[in-house]
């Protein structure tokens, strides 16, 4: 390893250890009596619409953060779908053949996954669970389907997928903006309607985030093209009927 590269490593190691040690020192230097938000969270839990504090924080107290988070997810998916792969098509296998064991397994597992996701979504109101966990499980099921070729890669997404991707953000936007029409601020649910609002938003979020996670996994792969054209000939053929 040449001297310049050794220098980079030494400087990086010193920088990283300085930051690590500084962080540890800050951890120990924090004052002893802690003022936390736990009391506030517990105090207003009744009027937040759910009984589980983490769900209440995610979808009511800090609902704005969750709203922006789904926007970030949507941006990532749009960015990934914007990569239109070019190049010889022999790179890609349109359907992945993974053998009979996985195919048999998913016949058993996918219904269980849907059931588990539905339970997690409903359970988020009063125990650990909620939209993200349910969407994660559903997304895992979608990835399994992708791995056995049940979901092929797409050149441009079909309308159902587009609706699914946008549903979470759209519903959240509508539910968040509804209080504005009554003179309240954004996301300021009335106490009586908070539970219903959170349930509606969580359901839409589950579907949408699951679709986004599966699209994140699929969208990075090159799509199916005809076999082995020359690079110059591939370019006009890429812009054929698949363009959205």
């Amino acid at each position: 390893m040449s001297k310049g590269h050794l220098l980079i490593r030494v400087i990086a190691a010193m920088l990283a250890s300085a930051l690590g040690i500084g962080l540890i020192a800050a951890i120990f230097a924090l004052p002893r009596p802690m003022v936390g938000l736990a009391a506030l969270v517990e105090a207003h839990l009744e009027e937040s619409g759910v009984r589980h504090p983490v769900t209440a924080v995610l979808l009511n107290y800090r609902g704005y953060d969750t709203f922006l988070e789904i926007a970030v997810l949507l941006l990532a998916v749009l960015g990934i779908m914007a990569f239109r792969p070019v190049g010889p098509s022999s790179l890609h296998r349109a359907r992945i053949d993974s053998g009979p064991v996985l195919a048999a397994l998913i016949r058993l597992i996918i219904p269980l996954i849907v059931l588990a996701a539905g339970y997690l979504l409903w359970a988020g109101a009063h125990r650990p669970g909620g939209a993200f966990q349910a969407a994660a499980v559903l997304g895992g099921g979608g990835v399994l389907l992708r791995l056995t070729g049940a979901i092929p890669s797409f050149r441009s997404p079909n309308p159902w997928l587009r609706i699914g991707l946008l549903l979470g953000f759209g519903v959240f936007l509508v539910v968040a903006a509804l209080p504005l029409s009554e003179g309240l601020r954004l996301l300021e649910y009335r106490a009586a309607r908070a539970g219903v609002a959170i349930l509606v938003v969580e359901s839409a979020l589950t579907l949408s985030i699951a679709a986004i996670l599966v699209t994140l996994f699929i969208g990075a792969a090159p799509s199916r093209m005809r076999s082995a054209p020359s690079p110059a000939a591939a370019r006009p053929e890429d812009n054929s009927a698949g363009q959205p």
């Binding site: 310049g4 920088l15 990283a16 938000l37 995610l58 800090r62 990532a76 998916v77 070019v86």
Partner: protein, 105 residues
């Protein structure tokens, strides 16, 4: 009295430093992304471990919600980064940045 969270907070700080070192030092872009994820996990450990650093304090729900958001955003950033890496690989055949002076392995 020391609570359980302090140990994880310290581990999180060490992981943050480890990940940062890896992010700077590695030339391979996928390794950079792995290091970035390790850094993120370290930050999440600090966020959740810190409120429990003294025994007897209840877990902090706001930190947990922040970390949930952080995990999801980290996944989407990783996915986007990997798509960029794959595209770079398809265009140049390499998995390191074009002006990286380090020698190929």
């Amino acid at each position: 009295m020391i609570g359980g969270g302090l140990i994880y907070a310290i581990a999180g700080a060490i992981l943050f430093a480890l990940g940062l070192y890896g992010l700077v030092v590695h030339a391979h872009l996928v390794r950079k992304l792995i290091a970035f994820n390790i850094t993120g996990s370290g930050v999440f450990l600090v966020l959740v471990g810190l409120p429990q650093r003294m025994a007897g304090t209840p877990p902090d729900r706001v930190s947990e919600a922040l970390v949930l958001t952080g995990i999801v955003v980290a996944v989407s950033a990783t996915a986007f980064g990997l798509a960029l890496v794959r595209r770079l690989y398809e265009l140049t055949g390499k998995t390191r940045l074009p002006n990286d002076p380090r020698p190929e392995p």
